[in-house]
Structure formats: structure tokens, C-alpha cells
């Protein structure tokens, strides 16, 4: 069970990202976290596993307080929380198996991870998970050789390899096509139910969220403005969360991505020149 109590986050830049957020998530419950860009969704789930430090408030996982831990305590806590990322965040140049096994990093000593000599039990678990997500044939492929949907499956396997007690999922479908998005969402929700895992899923796509999750929390400007079952999310609630103009904002983000890709080609040319330049 996850309990969040009056969580507050103010960035150094002055942005007040979270304003006293409180809720609890029961075992096996899948929560969809929706809200416009900049509402604090990413900050919230990163405050839970302390990739971002909260300013005030408490987070408790199975009655153990997470906020305030440090050093090896923090490591042991993090390994109990699996995380799935927006752009997959796989280590692109490592193989699928290495990526999945990296879920054990919080458990094994450095020499084992360095030599890639994981305990056989970990390897067995990794094989079983790859079977479960349907990637048995891609074990030794490099992660950057996979399609988007396959990469996200590796991301799921990596998170489950941690034997998590909680799953944090950050925009799992943002870079996927509609069909793959559904498959991935279905897979995530299935495994959560199989393992009685509580999960928090940040998601842009409201209808997709309604299709799969048990409960929806709407965030706006760092505050919870909706908390209830998916069918309770009517037009009024949506306007409360999103307002009217935010759809434009999302479109602008897409255009930015396209520009980034153009820049990448120019970047390659510059890099070669730099090598020559400082020779």
C-alpha cells in the first residue's frame, strides 16, 4: 500500500510543482494520473522514488517512510519500486538481457553486475519475464535494434525483474502508435493484477486511461482536482482538469520533436569538425 501525505515540491527556479498532494493506493490498484503538461505528473512520481527530492510531506510504502532515507537505505527502497519510462529509457547499447538484468542492480554487488555474472535465479526470472512479455527470441539483441513496442516490453520486464512492491509508470505510450499503446497498457494492467501490484500511471491519453485503469486522479497545477472511478470522469471534470487551450500546447510539443531530429543530422557534421578542429 502506498500513502502520500501532503507532498509539496518547489523547484529552485521557483516553480511550485506540487501543492500538498495526498492520496493512498491499495494493493493491486492501478491508478491513472492525468493532467495537462506541467501539472506536476512527472514530478509526483519522481518524488515517490526520490529521483526528485520533495520539499515537504511524506511518502510511505507499506508503512515504511521513504522520504528521509539516504545512502544504502535509499538504494534498498528504490529496488522495491519499479519504474517504466516515457521514451523507454533502455540503455540502448546494451542487449535486451542486460537491460532486464539491470533490474537486479539494487540487489547484487558491484563485481557481479560488472562481470555480468548474475545469480542463476535472477537469470531464470529474466528469461521467464521475457517469455511473459513475448520477447523470448530477442534475448541477445541490442536494445536499439527493437521497435518501440518491443522496447517498452523490455522496460516492463526490467521493472518487474526488480520484484517491485510498487510500479511507477511515466507516459508509457507517448511514443507508440494507437494499437501498440493499447497492447502495452493491457500488459501493464495485467501484470499488476497478476502480482497484486499497486501502480501509478502518468498518461496523456484520457480515453486510453479510462479503458484500462481502476481509478483516475486528475492533477492541475500541482493540485488534485479529481479522484474517482474512470466513468466518473465527465465533461465537467475534464474541463476542470484541462481547461480549454491545453490541446494546442500538446501539439506544439510534437513539432518540437520533429525539429530535434533535424538538428541531430547537423549535430553529426559538427562533431566531425570538432574532432579535426582540436587535433
Amino acid at each position: 500500500m502506498l500513502r502520500i501525505d501532503a507532498l509539496d515540491k518547489r523547484y529552485k527556479t521557483g516553480d511550485h510543482a506540487l501543492k500538498g498532494v495526498s492520496f493512498t493506493v491499495e494493493r493491486g490498484q492501478v491508478v491513472g494520473l492525468i493532467g495537462p503538461s506541467g501539472a506536476g505528473k512527472s514530478t509526483l512520481i519522481r518524488c515517490i522514488n526520490r529521483l526528485v527530492e520533495s520539499s515537504r510531506g511524506k511518502v510511505l510504502l507499506n508503512d515504511v517512510e521513504i522520504t528521509g532515507m539516504s545512502g544504502s537505505g535509499l538504494r534498498r527502497m528504490r529496488r522495491r519500486i519499479g519504474m517504466i519510462f516515457q521514451e523507454y529509457a533502455l540503455v540502448e547499447r546494451l542487449t535486451v538481457m542486460e537491460n532486464v538484468l539491470s533490474g537486479r542492480l539494487g540487489y547484487v554487488p558491484f563485481w557481479r553486475s560488472f562481470l555480468r555474472r548474475y545469480p542463476q535465479a535472477d537469470v531464470d526470472k529474466a528469461f521467464a519475464l521475457l517469455d511473459r512479455v513475448g520477447l523470448t527470441d530477442h534475448v541477445d539483441k541490442r536494445a536499439d535494434a527493437l521497435s518501440g513496442g518491443q522496447r517498452q516490453r523490455v522496460g516492463i520486464a526490467r521493472a518487474l525483474e526488480q520484484d517491485p512492491e510498487l510500479l511507477l509508470v511515466d507516459e508509457p505510450t507517448a511514443s507508440l502508435d494507437p494499437k501498440t499503446s493499447r497492447q502495452i497498457m493491457r500488459l501493464i494492467c495485467e501484470v499488476c493484477r497478476e502480482r497484486q501490484l499497486p501502480a501509478i500511471i502518468n498518461i496523456h491519453d484520457v480515453s486510453l486511461a479510462q479503458m484500462f485503469v481502476d481509478r483516475i486522479i486528475g492533477l492541475r497545477a500541482g493540485e488534485v482536482v479529481f479522484d474517482g472511478p474512470p466513468d466518473g470522469l465527465d465533461h465537467a471534470a475534464l474541463t476542470e482538469i484541462y481547461g480549454e487551450e491545453d490541446w494546442n500546447q500538446m501539439r506544439a510539443e510534437k513539432e518540437e520533436d520533429a525539429r530535434d531530429e533535424e538538428d541531430a543530422a547537423a549535430f553529426e557534421a559538427t562533431r566531425r569538425e570538432r574532432m579535426e578542429g582540436i587535433a
Binding site: 527502497m77 529509457a89 539494487g106 553486475s113
Partner: protein, 271 residues
């Protein structure tokens, strides 16, 4: 605004008047700087020597040709030394450059206040000083021989590899690192899984590229006594044996072309 309204209608010019003036002023400054530099540089130039250059070149050519090909037999051992200087120098330089780069990169340095500036200074100092100057110093300290050459090459390589590597480290995709950290990995594990795989191809490319440059540089380190084929070049120059110099240049050229080819092959194989 490039468009101005005049009684006879709008007029378009490429730049505004101020921009135009700034651009002209820039060019003028470059021209003036060039003229002054030219004057100062040539205060002691003896122009009759310069006028004489074509004749000198012809003379040089006639003395260099035909090359004394039999001399090539004396060059194999120095060539071996040259290759060793470049390779061992690159190896040692790389070993020293890797920690320097990690200290210098903003996202991996253990201490922003002390270690990072020190590492950046090491990199800049190593880069500013050409390997020939390093060799000059080291020959004075260690005596002539290829040890001085190896260390000279190594010291110069630290800056090159260190700079390119630390920039590669600063450019990595942080989300991959974040994902590894989220699994509960410790510092060294984050380095091993999150950072090293991302910079490994860049690192290999940089190292091989530097090795290629080092082969070139090590061919001339002998001029200041650091061993290798440059030593032969120096002694041939001292006795004005230009026909031997031709042979040495030819061998250097072949070596450089081969090393460039090898490094190109290796780099495409890695990336």
C-alpha cells in the same frame, strides 16, 4: 527594418543601415589587422631570399632526385620504434585521459569545486602544447630515446581524448541514467550500466582517431631526439643528404596512409 518607405515607394535592402555598417566595420578591421600583421611580420624578411625561392626549390628538387632507395634498409628499425611510440603513447594517454574526462564532465565529476577545474586545466595545458614541445622538454629531462617520445605522445593525447570524451559524457541521454538509478543501482553500477555503454562508441572512435594522429606526430619527434624515424630525418638533414630525405618522406607518407586506412576501417567497424 530592411524595407524603408521613400517618396518613390518602399525600398528593400538586405540589411538595415546599422547592420550594414557593422558588417563593413568588421571586414575593415580584419583587413587592417592583416596589413599591420603583414608589415610587422616582414620587418626582418630578406625579400631577395623569397624571390630566390623558386630557384632554391629547383635546386632542392634536383638534389632530392633520384631518391637513394637503398637507404630504406636503415629505416625499418626506426619505423618500428615510431609505431611503438605512437601505440604505447596512445595507450598510456588513454589510460590517463579516461579518469580525467570523468572528473571534467559536469554530470560525473565527484567535485565541481576542485576536481573539475583541475581536470579542465590538465586538458587545456596538454592540448596547448604540441607533442614536439613535450618531446623537447622530455628529452632534456629523460635523455634521448623513445621513452621520451612515448611520454610526449601520451601527455599530448590526454588533452585530446580527455576533451572529446568529457564532451561525449556531458551529451549522454540522462533518461537512461535515471532509469538505472531508479532500479536502486549504486554509483559504480550507474557508471557501468548507464554511462559507459553510451560513451563507449565515441570513446573507441576518439582513441583510434588519436592513434592515427599520433602515428603522424611520432614520425617527426626524432627531430628533437625522441627516437624513431625522425632521428634519421634529422641526421640526413644535418648532412644535407636530400636524396635520403626523399626516401624518408616517402616512407612517412606510406605509413600515414596505411594508418589512416586502418583507423578508418576500425572506426566504421565499431560504430
Amino acid at each position: 527594418m530592411p524595407v524603408t518607405q521613400t517618396p518613390s515607394g518602399p525600398v528593400w535592402t538586405r540589411r538595415t543601415t546599422t547592420e550594414q555598417w557593422a558588417s563593413w566595420a568588421g571586414w575593415l578591421a580584419v583587413a587592417v589587422l592583416f596589413v599591420i600583421s603583414w608589415q610587422v611580420m616582414n620587418t626582418n624578411t630578406i625579400w631577395s631570399f623569397v624571390d630566390d625561392a623558386p630557384r632554391q626549390a629547383g635546386d632542392l628538387l634536383s638534389r632530392s632526385w633520384p631518391p637513394r632507395w637503398s637507404y630504406v634498409g636503415n629505416l625499418w628499425l626506426p619505423l618500428w620504434d615510431t609505431l611503438n611510440m605512437a601505440t604505447l603513447g596512445t595507450l598510456i594517454g588513454t589510460i590517463l585521459a579516461v579518469p580525467t574526462a570523468f572528473f571534467a564532465a559536469r554530470n560525473t565529476t565527484p567535485s565541481v569545486a576542485i576536481l573539475r577545474p583541475v581536470a579542465l586545466f590538465v586538458i587545456v595545458a596538454s592540448r596547448s602544447i604540441n607533442s614536439l614541445i613535450w618531446a623537447l622538454l622530455l628529452v632534456a629531462i629523460l635523455g634521448p630515446g623513445i621513452l621520451a617520445g612515448i611520454i610526449a605522445i601520451a601527455l599530448r593525447s590526454i588533452g585530446f581524448i580527455g576533451k572529446l570524451l568529457y564532451e561525449a559524457i556531458e551529451e549522454i541521454d540522462e533518461s537512461q541514467v535515471e532509469a538505472i538509478r531508479a532500479t536502486g543501482a549504486g554509483g559504480w553500477q550507474v557508471l557501468d550500466y548507464g554511462i559507459v555503454p553510451q560513451v563507449l562508441p565515441a570513446f573507441a572512435g576518439i582513441t583510434v582517431f588519436r592513434w592515427d594522429i599520433n602515428i603522424r606526430e611520432s614520425t617527426i619527434l626524432g627531430l628533437v631526439g625522441a627516437g624513431g624515424i625522425g632521428l634519421q630525418l634529422q641526421s640526413s638533414l644535418n648532412v644535407l643528404a636530400w636524396s635520403q630525405v626523399t626516401v624518408i618522406f616517402a616512407l612517412i607518407l606510406v605509413t600515414v596512409i596505411v594508418s589512416e586506412w586502418v583507423s578508418g576501417k576500425v572506426r566504421t567497424a565499431i560504430i
